[in-house]
Each structure stands twice: as structure tokens, then as C-alpha cells.
């Protein structure tokens, strides 16, 4: 077993080139759980928590670039919380304060669980995921990046360097159901983003990947008044119905498919009403 602790991105990529299947650890809040349960045996490790390039964020006009190593506690605080409030709301639901100090947005992307708290927001914002290896870089839309439950398009030797998000003018929000009022894995989660005549809806924990809901999105865009923020109760109800129809939930020990489908409908309707408070 080797543990490499690079301090620059170049060193990190070189380490991954030497050991393409190494386990990449930032906060370790997912990896260590898997190790402790014996679900993952770790041979080589590349620690990226000291790579400065990954730990920074920057805003260029209407685009926010988050390094993969930016933590949830940074995301839930100002100024990021003002620019992408839905992501900040999602950040607040990640684990406990200790976990949020260690866990990173890149880790959420690396694990890519359908229950990953930040992922519905990244999906709804059409975020772009940046990957780098020693000899190349590429960028994928979130939809291209997440291909299944805990399965991504990341190749051996590639490192998630960051994610790019648009800063939008319209309303955005996030809701998550769990059987506890904090520090709980999502039973179902929903992100809603309103931007320039569009409505974008993403569902978490109700399918093999984060699910966008094109029918619901188009229906809402065609039936709400963006200027006066009006949505009739019939539109809200139909929007919820389309969200439910888009879900592909399963039964497990955390909940049932029936409840999950029901819950995303309720959350979708409540978020749409928050975005369009007038009837």
C-alpha cells in the first residue's frame, strides 16, 4: 500500500498516472465508511486534500468554478450561498458539521451515489464536470458524467478537478426528505431551478442516476407566468404528477418505492410554489 500526498495538481496527476486505479481521497467521508465496512479494500491512495488548485473557487461573470476540494461548509456559507442558494441548501443537509468541514463537492461527484446530496442541484443547473489526467483534460455535462448508481464516466488515471455552475437570476431551491431532521441520507430529494423562461427539475434517490424531468420542465415553462411569478394550483398539481411519473424508485430498507414517488411529487409541488408564490 502506498499513500501519496501531493501538494500540486501536477503531482497529483502524476501519481494517478503511476497508479491509475489508486483510491483518491479528499475528505474521506465516503471512502473511510466503505473501508470501515469492508466494502472497499484500498491498495494505493492519492490524498488530494493538500492540492491548493483543487481547494479554491472563482467566479467569472455568471459562471462559478468550484474546485473539487471545496468543502460543503464553504459552499453553505457566503458568498457561494448567495450565488447558488440551492447548492448551499443541499450542503446544509450533508452529514454533521464535522462531515461538512471534511467532505467536498468533488467527493460527492466521485462517489456519485443517487443519494448524493449535492448532485440534484448540479444536475438541475446543468453543471459541467472537469476531469484531468497527466496528459489530457476534458469536460462533461453532469448528465454525461453520471452513468449509473455510483458509476461515472471517469476513467482510470483521471481526477475530478472541479465543477462549473452557471449563476442564474431566477429562483432556485432544494428539498430533501429523510426520517430525521438533520444528518440523514436522502429518502428522496428534489432541486428546482428557474432561469430565463426555463424551469429545471432534478430528482435524487429515486432512480439509478439523478433524474431530470423534461416533461415536467416543459409543462411548467409553458404554463407559468415568469414575470408575475404565477402558477395556478392545477399547474402545480400537474407538475407534481409529472415529477412522480419521472421517478424510477426502488424499495429498500430506508423507504419504499411508493413513498419515494409520492415524496418527490410533494417536494416538486412545494418547490414550484416557492418559485411561483402567486396563484
Amino acid at each position: 500500500m502506498s499513500v501519496i500526498v501531493p501538494t500540486t495538481l501536477a503531482e497529483a496527476l502524476a501519481a494517478l498516472a503511476d497508479s491509475p486505479s489508486a483510491t483518491v481521497v479528499a475528505g474521506g467521508t465516503d471512502v473511510m465508511v466503505e473501508v470501515n465496512f469492508g466494502h472497499r479494500s484500498v491498495s494505493d491512495v492519492v490524498m488530494v486534500n493538500r492540492v491548493a488548485e483543487l481547494r479554491t473557487w472563482r467566479r467569472d461573470a455568471d459562471v462559478l468554478h468550484l474546485g473539487a476540494g471545496v468543502t460543503w461548509s464553504e459552499i453553505e456559507a457566503s458568498p457561494i450561498a448567495e450565488w447558488v442558494p440551492a447548492l448551499a441548501q443541499a450542503a446544509r443537509t450533508v452529514g454533521s458539521p464535522q462531515i461538512r468541514h471534511a467532505g467536498t463537492v468533488g467527493g460527492n461527484l466521485g462517489t456519485c451515489s443517487p443519494a448524493g446530496d449535492g448532485l440534484p442541484v448540479l444536475a438541475a443547473l446543468d453543471a459541467v464536470v472537469h476531469l484531468a489526467s497527466a496528459d489530457s483534460t476534458r469536460s462533461l455535462s453532469f448528465a454525461e458524467y453520471m452513468v449509473g448508481p455510483k458509476r461515472t464516466a471517469r476513467r482510470p488515471g483521471e481526477l475530478i478537478t472541479g465543477v462549473t455552475l452557471p449563476i442564474v437570476d431566477g429562483w432556485q431551491g432544494y428539498s430533501k426528505v429523510g426520517v430525521r431532521n438533520a444528518m440523514v441520507i436522502a429518502t428522496a430529494s428534489v432541486a428546482l431551478v428557474v432561469d430565463a423562461g426555463s424551469v429545471r427539475l432534478a430528482l435524487g434517490s429515486v432512480g439509478p442516476t439523478i433524474l431530470r424531468c423534461p416533461e415536467a420542465e416543459v409543462f411548467a415553462a409553458n404554463n407559468v407566468d415568469f414575470t408575475s411569478r404565477v402558477a395556478s394550483s392545477e399547474v402545480v398539481a400537474q407538475f407534481a404528477e409529472l415529477a412522480r411519473a419521472a421517478a424510477r424508485p426502488i424499495d429498500d430498507h430506508r423507504s419504499t418505492a411508493v413513498y419515494r414517488r409520492h415524496a418527490v411529487g410533494v417536494l416538486a409541488s412545494r418547490l414550484l410554489r416557492r418559485a411561483f408564490p402567486n396563484e
Partner: protein
């Protein structure tokens, strides 16, 4: 080996000062409070010894299977492995258990629950242990498990254990069996499997005596002497050759009453001739200890049109899991509390505790009474609705008083201020904050950090729960406690085997000694088996029993002191008393500090405290089986999101019959903690098994209330000293857990106008 090899980790309470000040009635801070908060306290998991080995346990992946073959040779091939043991290696009795010894140290032919120990190893490192366990080959013939307790009752499933599938059946038949109505309410109430979820995981360190003649075990447990008895039997040793020392205990709640890793650790130490430590992780802990009994209770109440209970019919079915543990006693506790804290002359009750291939069930805070209270309180609300009065009025009309009889015929001969508790609880202020709070913080709403709801989606409900809980052991058991007090040079040293699990006995000891003896400094000696038994730290009994023993020993010492002082100053001993820190003559001729009076002398006395004897129940469930009773009332305010099924418990108000609050700070801690456990059972805590397989043995998925889930608690301590209790103080640990759960569920029912009959209440129970 000697204690010094263990460094500071050994004997956590050795030489501990029981605070520097505080007498009975004062709020005294725990001496271990700051170290626990700062992380410097040595829990038993922190124990080490020179050259110690790690131990680990191989467990069954099946709930029910025949062991065809065990091949341990692979483990022996791994460098660093020092011992591999199985059932064949148990030197003494092959089985253990608190009441009947039906549980194997290691399964030999059949495994009966998911996680049953099959083998253990000792090695130089935990990782070596892990590899060694993985290298042991166990061939199983998987059998269909018995998971439905009804199949144990109806006899349709072949016995899964030589002792049969019924652990115990008991009926209670009292009074006129023909009474019907005129008001009849009926319900079936279910409770899931709650885990004690103490934070300090199971851990022990065993140190063998040279030549293997004996063993010392440092362990987090609840009852050192009972552990020693079972361990010695399994090791085939005289009890004198087994010494138990209490390691720092991080909570217990009943889960440490049964043997878990004790015998395994001692066996590995004796086999290797080296100290061995075993420490469970969280997942193993869920498999490695007993849990609260899942239970189904049916009740039918017959009442007059005024709502006064005339007769109760009930049936209890406790799922005892694979081994007996304390199921037979839990059953008796449950059925004898059928009526709750209410008057009832006539009853027809049948109860079963049965064996299944589920996880073994045993002691947990409330011990069978939690199951009864969830049912009888649900019934009281149904009765109130049927009669057309409110939940408070129905309870006041039926409230038990001192001198009333239980359905076992036993007279309740304790302070029983049930009506007062209800009235004092009702008088406590309701929450001043509206739904969501005046600051409209979404964190205050059901769903909390998930921001699932807005204020308009939420409805608020109020519910009641009132409870009765027996204190101490029952059914003719003499669970005495022993204490020895030495007084010299103004310092009292107290020796006892009373396990401190976090309940606060270590502060009470000092308070008693300072009050009775007038000393300032009280030293607590090592808590071990080098003195008589203290009984278990359970059944809300240690303040009463071990407090009684310390009080008794202190009084004997004080008598001797007065005799010495009287002789020296030519006074009559009967006219001496302790005033503060002085010995004074009531006639006013003498006042000397206790420190001066005891200079150069040593007085030592030992005292055993026994409670009043109790009886077995007869075949109709009649008899004075319980020792004493305490009472409590809870009122819960809960905000509910009916559409998503999420809840936020906003406030619990409680008045509790404490007899006398010896350490009010500690009493409040017990009440708040007990309520947290009651809230958890009401709305989230459940260890799930599907066909006997445990599905959520982690804190990721076994959910405990967080700070955001815990309500405000408003408390009224009702202090009416009990004449039978030493110092007038009743046990306070269990009552908070007994009726807080039904109060929360009643509040959810009230918010929804919907019947709920199962805990924990799941979102789908609310919204579908």
C-alpha cells in the same frame, strides 16, 4: 500482571474524588463530566496492557443454519495469529444466560441468529484478526428461520432450540370475568426493535494470571458479580479465580446486562497467556447485544359511561429472539403493568415470550413496561373519545392512588401521586413559539435541514402519556447491594461494586457520605468484585439499593464515631450528631470538626441493603411480585407534515414522581435522556430484520434523535419522599422512557385525526 502495567487506563474510578462538595439535595456536577466532554476520559475501549493481543469474533451470516463443518486451519497459517477458538475449546459450561443458560458461548451445531458467534481469534493486530476470521471456513446448511413469533405460539414451527419455542407463558386472571361494557374500546399495538445504542462500544481487556490459574477482566458491564458467575462457569473456574474490574462505561440502557464478549476475551487470554482485548465496532455491537423486545399487544377495555375502567382484556406477545436472556422477566413486567397507573379491579391477560431466529431480545430501559404503556395509553385516548371527555380528564378519573391494587392483587404501597403528576404536567407552559417559530426558521419545521415544508403545510398536535414503572427486581429475587465505608482523618473511602454506566451514582455516593458523616473528602475505591455484589445497574435500582447500602454503612460508621467521641469526652453517644462538618453535642457542650475527631483512627463498616421480599406469581398471575413503583406523566407537542409524514417533536412537559431529588441536576439529566430515547422509539429508532437478516446495523441507517429532533423538555419534579426508600428517593431512570413514547404518538394522532398503532411511526404510516 498487576494494575500498574495498565497505566492510567486501569481502574477508572480508583481514587476518584466524588466531587469536592455537595450534600443530598444539592445539584452536584459529575467528576467525570468534563473529562468525558473533553475526550480524555478512559472508556473501556481505551484500555491497553503491555504486549496485549487483539481478539475478534467470527459471526454467523445466517439467522438459522446447521454448522456442517468448521475448518480453522487457514487462520493458523496467517502470521501473527496467536489463538483460534471455537465451541470445542470452551473449558467449562458451554452455555450462559441471565435466567436460563441456553445461549452457547460459541455455536457448535446450530446458529440461531444473524451474527451468532462461531469462533474467535487473537492476533497481533486488528487487521490480522480480520484476515484470520476471513480464513476460517464454516460450511452451513441453511435452514428456514422462524421469524414470526405467532408461529412460536401456535406451535406450527418445529422447536429451534432444545428448550422449545415458548420461553414463558403467564396469565393474569382477576375479579369478575363476565364484565362487558357498556363502553368498549379495543386496539392492537405494535412496537419495533429498539437498540440501546450506547455510545461506548463493547470492550474488554482480559489479563491471565501466571500459569492460567485465573483471569482478571476489565470490562464495561452492568453487573460485575453476575458476569463473574457466568464467566467462571464457562471457564470451569472457581469464581474466586476470576476478578472483574469495571472499565469506563459509555452507557448501557440494558444492553450490557447480558454476556457479550466477556467469555471470549477471557478464553483467548488464558489460551495465549497474554492480555487480550476485544472491542466491537458499531455494526458488531448491533449484533452482539440484546435489544428491546418487539411486541404486539392487544387490549380491550370495558368501562362505565363515566369512563371508569371496569375490566381489561389483553394479550401480549414478546419476540424474545434466539435466546432466553431476560425475556421471562420482561414478559412479567409487561403483563403486570397492563392497567397502567389506573385503577382496575378485573382483568383477563395472557402473555407469551417466545423464541424466534431474530436477534435475541432482553433488557432495555423500561423492561417490558414500555410495550405495555404504548398500548394502555393508546387505549386511554380511545376511551376518552368514546366517553366524550378529554385525555386529561379520562386519566384523572382513573388515576391510581396509594393503597390501590394491581391486577396481580398487589397493593401499591408507595407514594402514588398520579393525579398530581397529571395536573402538574397540565399546568406546565405550552410552547410559546408558533409553528416555525417567530423567526420563521425552516429548521424548526418537520423535515428540518431538508427544507421540505412551509409553515402552512404543518399541523400541531398535543398528546398525553402517563406511566407506572416497577423499581428493583421482582418475583422473589433478592437483589441486594453491598458497600463498605472507611473513615480516617476526615476522609471517607467507599468501596462498592455498583456499576457506574453514566447514571450518576458516583455523585450520590459522595453526597451521602458528606451528609451522614460530615466529611469533606470522599474517595471512591476501585469498582470491582473484591466486595459483595451490588446487583445490576438496571431497573432504576441503584440509588435505592446501593444508595441504601452506602447510607447504611455510613450510619454504622457514624455510630462508631459517636461512641469514640462520647468515650473520649465522657458524653452519651445518643446526644451526638453531625452538624455540617462537625460532631456536636445536642446539649451544646461540644463541637469538634469531624476531621479532628477522626484523626489517627480508622473506622470501617460494611452494610448490605436488601429490599422487602417479593413473591412469585401463582398460575393466575396473583402475588406481590414487585418491590416498589414510580409514576410519571408526559405531555407532548408535535408538529406534523401530514403530506410527507415528517414530524418535529416541539416540546415534552413532564412531572415525575422522584420521591426525593438527591441530585436535581442528575435527575434532570436522566429525564432528558430518557425522553430522548422515548422520542427515538416513537418516530425513528428501529433495527430492521428481513427474514432474520439485519438490514441497518449502522448509525447511518439506525437513526437516533439529533439535537434538531430533540424537543424542549419542561420538567416538574414531584418530591414526596417514599417511606420505603432509603433517603426517600425513588429510581428515576426508566419512567421518562415509559410514557414519553405514547405521548408523542398521541400528539401525532391528535394532529392528524388518524389512528396510529405502531412505533416507530414511519412517514408512510402518516401520509398514506
Amino acid at each position: 500482571m498487576t494494575d500498574t502495567d495498565l497505566g492510567t487506563a486501569a481502574a477508572t474510578f480508583d481514587g476518584t474524588h466524588s466531587g469536592l462538595a455537595g450534600r443530598l439535595g444539592d445539584s452536584v456536577a459529575r467528576p467525570d463530566g468534563v473529562p468525558k466532554a473533553q475526550g480524555s476520559y478512559q472508556f473501556s475501549g481505551d484500555l491497553t496492557a503491555d504486549g496485549f493481543l487483539w481478539g475478534a469474533t467470527l459471526r454467523s451470516p445466517h439467522p438459522y443454519a446447521r454448522i456442517v463443518r468448521i475448518d480453522v486451519s487457514g487462520a493458523w497459517k496467517i502470521d501473527g495469529v496467536a489463538a483460534v477458538i471455537t465451541a470445542e475449546d470452551v473449558p467449562g459450561k458451554a452455555t450462559y444466560g441471565l435466567i436460563s443458560q441456553d445461549q452457547p458461548v460459541f455455536a457448535s451445531d446450530i446458529v440461531r441468529f444473524h451474527g451468532e458467534p462461531v469462533a474467535a481469534v487473537a492476533a497481533d493486530h486488528p487487521e490480522t484478526c480480520r484476515r484470520a476470521l476471513a480464513a476460517i471456513v464454516v460450511e452451513y446448511e441453511v435452514l428456514t428461520p422462524l421469524t414470526d413469533p405467532e408461529q412460536a405460539v401456535d406451535g406450527s414451527f418445529p422447536p429451534i432450540h432444545p428448550d422449545g419455542n415458548i420461553v414463558r407463558h403467564q396469565r393474569i386472571i382477576r375479579g369478575d370475568q363476565s364484565i362487558e361494557g357498556p363502553i368498549i374500546v379495543e386496539g392492537t399495538y405494535e412496537m419495533g426493535r429498539q437498540d440501546q445504542a450506547f455510545l461506548g462500544l463493547e470492550a474488554a481487556l482480559a489479563i491471565p494470571a501466571p500459569g492460567g490459574a485465573g483471569v482478571e477482566l476489565y470490562v464495561a458491564t452492568q453487573w460485575l458479580h453476575e458476569d463473574r458467575k457466568q464467566i467462571a462457569a464457562c471457564l470451569g473456574m472457581p469464581e474466586d479465580n476470576v476478578r472483574l474490574v469495571l472499565g469506563g462505561v459509555g452507557g448501557a440502557f440494558g444492553a450490557r446486562e447480558d454476556i457479550s464478549l466477556q467469555v471470549h476475551t477471557c478464553m483467548l487470554a488464558l489460551r495465549t497467556g497474554r492480555p487480550v482485548k476485544i472491542q466491537y465496532d458499531r455494526a458488531e455491537s448491533f449484533h452482539g447485544h440484546v435489544h428491546r423486545h418487539p411486541c404486539t399487544v392487544w387490549m380491550r377495555h370495558h368501562a362505565g359511561t363515566d369512563g371508569r375502567i371496569r375490566r381489561i382484556e389483553a394479550r401480549f406477545l414478546f419476540d424474545g429472539g434466539a435466546y432466553a436472556s431476560t425475556s421471562s422477566a420482561v414478559l412479567i413486567n409487561g403483563i403486570t403493568h397492563t392497567q397502567g397507573p389506573y385503577q382496575c379491579e378485573n382483568a383477563t391477560v395472557h402473555g407469551w415470550a417466545v423464541r424466534t431466529n431474530n436477534l435475541p431480545s432482553g433488557a432495555m430501559r423500561g423492561f417490558g413496561v414500555v410495550q405495555a404503556a404504548f398500548a394502555h395509553e393508546g387505549q386511554m385516548d380511545k376511551l376518552a373519545a368514546a366517553v366524550g371527555v378529554d385525555p386529561v380528564e379520562i386519566r384523572l378519573r382513573n388515576a391510581m392512588q396509594r393503597g390501590d391494587r394491581l391486577i396481580t392483587g398487589q397493593v401499591v404501597d408507595n407514594v402514588a401521586p398520579v393525579a398530581r403528576l397529571i395536573r402538574e404536567t397540565a399546568a406546565l407552559p405550552l410552547p410559546t413559539q408558533p409553528v416555525g417559530g417567530t423567526d420563521h426558521d425552516p429548521m424548526r419545521l418537520p423535515g428540518g435541514a431538508g427544507r421540505t415544508a412551509d409553515e402552512r403545510h404543518i399541523v400541531r398536535g398535543i398528546g398525553w402519556g402517563v406511566g407506572i414503572k416497577n423499581l428493583m427486581y421482582s418475583e422473589a429475587f433478592d437483589d441486594f447491594s453491598t458497600a463498605r465505608v472507611r473513615l480516617a482523618d476526615g476522609v471517607a473511602s467507599v468501596k462498592f461494586a455498583t456499576v457506574e454506566v453514566g447514571q450518576g451514582f458516583i455523585t450520590i455516593v459522595g453526597q451521602i457520605a458528606r451528609t451522614v458523616l460530615g466529611v469533606g473528602e470522599v474517595v471512591l475505591e476501585t469498582i470491582d468484585t473484591q466486595i459483595g455484589s451490588a446487583g445490576s445497574t438496571s431497573a432504576s435500582r441503584q440509588t435505592w439499593m446501593s444508595g441504601g447500602a452506602v447510607d447504611g454503612a455510613c450510619r454504622l460508621v457514624r455510630e462508631r464515631l459517636f461512641e469514640l467521641v462520647a468515650a473520649k469526652y465522657q458524653l452519651a453517644a445518643v446526644q451526638l450528631e453531625i452538624d455540617g462538618t462537625d460532631v456536636v453535642d445536642t446539649l451544646g457542650t461540644l463541637r469538634i470538626p469531624v476531621a479532628e475527631a477522626t484523626a489517627g483512627i480508622l473506622i470501617e463498616e460494611t452494610f448490605e441493603h436488601h429490599h422487602v421480599p417479593t413473591e412469585d406469581l401463582d398460575e393466575d398471575g396473583q402475588g406481590n411480585c414487585h418491590t416498589a413503583f414510580a409514576f410519571v406523566a408526559h405531555r407532548a407537542v408535535v408538529d406534523v407534515d401530514p403530506e410527507l409524514g415528517l414530524v418535529k417533536v416541539v416540546q415534552i412537559a413532564t412531572a415525575q414522581d422522584v420521591g426525593r431529588a438527591l441530585n436535581p441536576l442528575s435527575v434532570v439529566g436522566q429525564i432528558e435522556g430518557g425522553i430522548a430515547q422515548g422520542v427515538g422509539l416513537a418516530v425513528m429508532e428501529e433495527l430492521l430484520q428481513v427474514n432474520g437478516i439485519v438490514k441497518n446495523a449502522t448509525f447511518t441507517d439506525y437513526l437516533l434523535p439529533t439535537f434538531l429532533d430533540m424537543p424542549d423538555v419542561v420538567i416538574s419534579l414531584v418530591e414526596e419522599p417514599d417511606p420505603h426508600a432509603p433517603m426517600g428517593a425513588k429510581g428515576v431512570g426508566e419512567p421518562p422512557t415509559v410514557s414519553s413514547t405514547p405521548a408523542v404518538v398521541a400528539a401525532i394522532r391528535d394532529a392528524l385525526g388518524k389512528d396510529l398503532h405502531r412505533v416507530p411511526v414511519r412517514p408512510s404510516d402518516i401520509c398514506f
